[in-house]
């Protein structure tokens, strides 16, 4: 972070987003840009990692360093980059299929490790890029191409999952409330540890159930004067129905993996010299 004054337009990518008009991902892209600008983080110091899905195309649409990898694997790649070079601001980004199906194990263990990265999930409760199949957050009874008789598997709750795994910052945003989303994103990037934001992100093409209107009727801003209360957070994130809370539910300070690891805590591995082996190092084999 520096004193340089940055504008949202300083993060304008080379490529225009190819998402459907009205897609919830636009609000997230804007939220990330405005959070970075308001925090004064230069484009060269940011890396955005993603997996595969409509949302995962985002690194192309923003002028930072971008890594558009494979389905479900953004978190381990992002974690390692951050560990090697802690000067970078690292954001992992993807969809609900990417993060809550394919990458579940990484989500769990990354939260537990608490690396200083931000993970934002565009949660549209459907597979978009593969043209409309039930996803891990699809509601019970939801009719899709793969669930013609209605979804019979209950949805996962990514927020209880994140809390259980040990995430130190847990939040939910809504693409229909971009100002609030940008505020949450800013706090998440500022957080010193693993910050997680699930974003309610309507898929205007394939999800005709969880629409902007659906959420606008239900969503409210959650407020708490004690964000360190795990059980209060755990109760709050389970509310889902007529009312759906958004905002920051949980924020605590805990050792990051890289604070404790003897090597990672001692140096920037990208900018330090590697070991130089000499004849003396061979003596242990004599």
């Amino acid at each position: 972070m520096s004193d340089i004054v940055l504008k949202v337009s300083d993060y304008q990518g080379r490529v225009k987003p190819d998402w459907c008009p009205g897609c919830g991902n636009f609000a997230q892209l804007t939220a990330i840009k405005s959070a970075l600008a308001s925090l004064g983080i230069e484009p060269k110091d940011v890396v955005i990692f993603s997996g595969i899905g409509c949302s995962s195309n985002l690194p192309e649409f923003i002028k930072t360093y971008g890594f558009h990898g494979i389905h479900g694997r953004a978190l381990p790649v992002a974690t390692a980059t951050k560990w090697m070079n802690p000067e970078l601001t690292v954001i992992a980004y993807g969809g609900d299929g990417d993060g809550y199906f394919e990458g579940t194990q990484h989500f769990y263990h990354t939260a537990k490790r608490n690396p200083n990265i931000t993970y934002m999930v565009s949660d549209n409760q459907i597979f978009g890029l593969t043209t409309g199949q039930a996803s891990p957050t699809s509601e019970l009874g939801f009719v899709t191409k793969t669930t013609p008789d209605g979804n019979i598997e209950p949805p996962v709750n990514p927020l209880t999952f994140a809390l259980t795994a040990g995430a130190t910052f847990v939040a939910r945003g809504f693409s229909g409330d971009p100002k609030h989303l940008a505020e949450i994103t800013r706090e998440a990037i500022k957080h010193d540890g693993f910050s997680f934001i699930d974003v309610l992100s309507p898929c205007v093409t394939f999800n005709k159930l969880n629409t902007y209107d659906y959420f606008k009727k239900r969503v409210y801003r959650y407020e708490s004067d004690n964000l360190e209360d795990f059980y209060a957070a755990y109760r709050a994130v389970q509310e889902w129905g007529d009312r759906i809370p958004t905002g920051i539910f949980y924020r605590v300070k805990r050792n990051k993996y890289e604070d404790v690891d003897p090597i990672l805590s001692s140096k920037n591995l990208v900018h330090s010299e590697p070991a130089h082996i000499t004849e003396k190092d061979l003596e242990e084999f004599l």
Partner: protein, 580 residues
Amino acid sequence: MGGNDVIVRVAGAAGDGVQSAGQIIAKTFSRMGLHCSTYNYYQDIIRGGESWYQIRASGNPVRSQGDGLDILIALNRDGVERHTNPDINEGGAAPLSANGVAIYDEKISISRSQNCGCAPVPLSELAQKYSRNPLVRNTVAIGAAIASLQIPFDTLAGVIRENFSSKGEVAEQNVNAARAGYDYFLKNYKPIDVSLKTSERKKYLIQGGEAVGFGMVAGGLKFYVAYPMTPASSALHFLASHSRKYGVAIKVPEDEISAINMAIGANYAGARAATGSSGGGFSLMVEAVGMAGEMEIPLVVYESQRAGPSTGLPTKTEQGDLNLVFGAGQGDFLKIILAPRNVKECFTLSREAMNLAEYYQTPVFIVNDLYLAEKYETVDDFELGSFSIDHGKRAQDGEEDYKRYLDTPDGISPRAIPGQPGLMHNEDSDEHNEYGDVVSDAVTNPDDRVKMVNKRMRKFKTYIENMPPTPTYRLSDAEYAVILWGSTAGVVEEAIDILREKGHRVGAIEINRVFPLNPDIGDLIKGRKKLIFVENNYSGQFERLFRSEFLVETFSVRKYDGEPFYPGALANSIEEIMKG
């Protein structure tokens, strides 16, 4: 056998201390300035079962575990009976030779074999004088074995003191126990007939898997991330125990998928990183291999083979994962496959792999196998002076109109790493143009696609032009060429020496750069009567790959019982093909 070459075998059950005893003996040999190498025959069990550990030592380089057995240390009855039985069935290992000696506890009553010299020693009784730990009987036996070779006791005592240096009085207890065994043997039995040519030259004794890890460190490794799996774990253990010394970060993550993706993330950031596993774990990594190929990110993968399919024989050797490694990753891209021939090459090729991956910005594989990964071998010289780190092409800060995937004559584009000013770009697992922008979504651009494939594949030509000559053995006048890859080099050389003794004109082509293959092989095979492929697998995985490159008739010797080749039997198999 006899003369300047000796084979010692320690046999017992898992938990008996077979391996520790064997390593003390190996160290004693290397301290004498002898060449030596070890072979570990064990099972997938922590206690019980049947295991043995063999050490072969000589004044000349030791290239395989060898034929024959001169000294047997048997820690239980099964060990005596199994290894003195002429019909021993251990994958090619020989029984105790007629003029060999078997050392075992005199409490074990066996009918005296006519095939060998039995040397019962009161192992437990002597051990009890110095320690209550029953495993000290092993030290008594080691003392007896060293006496049978007329090696000065002080050399052994030094190794024992070092081995137990952190355990206080235990060290001297063991030295005294070894002395008791040493004296008992000399008082009651005759030494065996060998004259090992010792040397003043220092010998380093190091395990294959350790040498892989050590080589990576010498090659600039900063992060090693792997999920444990035999027989790849010896590299992981070495690196974990040397993490602080060399400043290398180590991580065991949730699975192999995470491991390879973390290795890619670290390399992307600009820190040299590697991952490793055996076939089962590597199977989980395959998708990410393709990603590194498409995104042109340096990546080193250590693949240490064991017998498959699936869990297969977890503690047994095979060269059965070549198809898997060769086929890993969708589409076409340069993938470099290296296969060390010996422990020294585990070091030098792993070190080189770190450079190759960054220079060519592509995945590089070090394909090893259990036989070599678990083998301790003496190394004279690590050739530390012959290497320097080469980061390849890097973009300059603030470069105008930076193209991450610039189309270049050699196929290699200058890399930018995150944090460099003015070079922000996207690296993409989707096909992309020179800037890194995706060309597969809104509009597919066939021209850009073809340009990028051609650019990446041009690295093949660049790599091949820079390859060192293919190593050979006694090939110049050979009518018959034996072709091998990786760890079978030593045993093939011994088989060739046996065949040369018998007057056959035969030599070897030793492939340590398995893919892409060096075109110089075309000249090496010209005019040979037969090309004979030696492989530790059923289907001749390398032979098939070779034939797809060189379109030649081939003959094969294959072994897939989980055990390595033995020189005598291998020479016979090669001879049959030559005569056939």
